[in-house]
């Protein structure tokens, strides 16, 4: 969008008359004078037709209008003018600025009432302006957010397309080198080629994980009533396929029904359970429990507990970051994006993910999701 267009939009957004300042002031105060004069004129005219006591509501109305449209300055002017006018035309003795003692209460009640109206009107006006400002800011931020989301999507798209191709070539030609030139390569060179291959493979996995992670942020959630018990069962079945002959004692509690995106919740549970499987590798038997923590008023909480290597609570803040790992890749493989994905899925369900652990005594990871169908 070009600059002129942007400026035009901004001006339209501010919704304030674009007058030079002195002219604007004259108009504001003019409005007070005009409003009060009109009210006085109308009251005097009606008095000719024997309508009594119409001056109070008319003057109050004029004061309210002046403070609404003119702001505090105009409000004070209107208030003062209406007090003076009221005193001169309607308070005994008539057509004099003096006030008879018995009329004093009447005048003061009017003055007080007019002041009250002015004050309310001014406050109301300020609140409304702030609200409008906040709405405009929000609108603007919404537009910016949409633009940055779009940019992110384009970025992820081009990562998906363009980063994979050179990786494939690295892996492919290293493989061909290994195969076709095995005779001329010495052991050291063969090892080098192996490292290139392994790195390409690892980078491929990182890119895939990162894309999957960003997709969870971008994709629309497809929410429906789902059975967490069934989702947990599927997740368990998926994880169990890869555990080989390891001895794991499973304990799966009864899980409730929930409202959420089936595929996302499944991915979250798969990540949590496969983490538990991974970090109990040194235990025989490994014990893994999938259960439900006491629900709060508006949240369902499920957890996955293991008796694995655990973690130091000192690093708990790092657990859910992207590519954050607490263990070396030699001891436990992985890209370090699993828990970040779980956290993001929790956020998209109006909940959060957190963990508790003790070094060498296992860990528990919690996932809360909102019961509400709104979030």
């Amino acid at each position: 969008m070009d600059q002129a267009n942007l400026d035009g939009k901004r001006a339209a957004h501010s919704r304030q008359p674009e007058l030079p300042k002195p002219l604007f002031s004259i108009r504001r105060y003019g409005l007070s004078v005009l409003g009060v004069s009109l009210a006085l004129g109308l009251a005097l005219l009606l008095e000719q037709f024997h309508f009594r006591d119409v001056e109070v509501p008319l003057l109050l109305f004029a004061v309210a209008m002046a403070s609404w449209y003119g702001g505090l300055g105009a409000a004070v002017v209107a208030w003062a003018l209406s007090c003076v006018g009221f005193d001169y035309f309607f308070v005994e003795p008539i057509h004099s600025f003096a006030i008879a003692p018995r009329e004093l209460p009447y005048f003061f009640v009017f003055a007080l009432f007019a002041a009250l109206v002015t004050w309310f009107s001014t406050v109301r006006r300020r609140v409304e302006r702030e609200l409008r400002q906040a709405r405009d800011d929000l609108e603007k931020r919404g537009v910016e957010l949409a633009a940055s989301n779009k940019e992110l999507e384009a970025f992820a798209y081009s990562v998906s397309h363009d980063l994979r191709a050179p990786l494939r070539h690295m892996a492919g030609f290293s493989e061909l080198l290994q195969k076709n030139s095995a005779k001329v390569l010495d052991d050291k060179s063969k090892r080098y080629v192996g490292v290139i291959l392994e790195s390409a493979r690892k980078m491929g996995a990182l890119i895939d994980d990162l894309l999957a992670f960003s997709r969870i942020g971008r994709a629309e959630t497809d929410k429906a009533a789902v059975s967490l018990a069934q989702i947990a069962e599927e997740a368990l079945a998926e994880v169990r396929r890869d555990i080989g002959d390891r001895k794991i004692v499973w304990k799966v509690d009864k899980l409730p029904a929930a409202y959420g995106d089936r595929a996302m919740l499944r991915l979250a549970l798969v990540n949590l359970i496969s983490n538990a499987v991974k970090f109990t590798r040194t235990r025989t038997p490994a014990e893994i429990q999938v259960g439900q923590a006491p629900a709060t008023d508006d949240q369902i909480v499920v957890f996955v507990r293991d008796n694995g290597v655990g973690f130091d609570m000192k690093y708990v803040g790092k657990l859910f970051g992207v590519f954050q790992r607490l263990h070396s890749t030699e001891s436990f493989e992985g890209t370090g994006i699993g828990l970040a994905t779980v956290q993001r899925i929790a956020h998209r369900h109006g909940g959060r993910a957190w963990g508790e652990g003790v070094v060498d005594q296992g860990a528990t990871f919690y996932l809360s999701i909102s019961k509400s169908r709104q979030s």
Binding site: Y157, S160, H161, D162, R164, A165, L167, R168, H169, A171, G172, F173, S174, E175, L176, A200, R201, G204, D208, L211
Partner: protein, 153 residues
């Protein structure tokens, strides 16, 4: 061996062309591969115009189509083929790096016959290409009018 169908490979990246040919060579399918380097050239080949005006008659048994191509991109090529009364019979397999859902959906919507994501791992890549080659060039019966070379037994 039975007859081998002609494969039209539309791929702009020379490295990918080489890897694909290497994979097909292992199964002696590489001889029947025609390579075009962008969407415009692929359409020239199919319509027998431009540089391909003099080629012999007949359609390829399968078209392996990359999506990200210079000039005319893969989806545009696909659209043009599937909108053409004669060309729409040619089986088209999208062979791409993109795992993005929108590419996949767009391709199927345009009537693609298969969608294959090129695996990063070389073994998987070779396997995928080999299986594609064997299926589309040998097992599958292409529509009438396709070029097939009688295979040597």
């Amino acid at each position: 061996m039975s007859a081998i169908g002609r494969i039209l490979l539309v791929e702009d990246d020379p490295n990918d062309v080489e890897l694909t040919l290497t994979a097909l060579e292992e199964y002696h399918l590489a001889n029947e591969v025609v390579i075009t380097r962008d969407g415009a050239e692929a359409l020239d080949y199919l319509y027998r115009r431009g540089a391909h005006a003099d080629r012999s008659n007949g359609s390829p048994a399968v078209l392996l189509l990359d999506l990200k191509l210079p000039k005319v991109d893969g989806l545009e090529v696909l659209q043009e083929i599937k909108n053409d009364e004669k060309l729409r019979l040619i089986p088209v397999v999208v062979l791409t790096s993109s795992r993005e859902e929108r590419d996949m959906v767009a391709s199927y919507r345009l009537g693609v016959n298969a969608y294959v994501v090129k695996p990063v791992d070389f073994h998987e890549f070779v396997n995928a290409i080999r299986e594609l080659g064997i299926f589309w060039a040998i097992i599958n019966e292409p529509p009438p009018g396709s070029i097939k070379r009688p295979g040597a037994d």
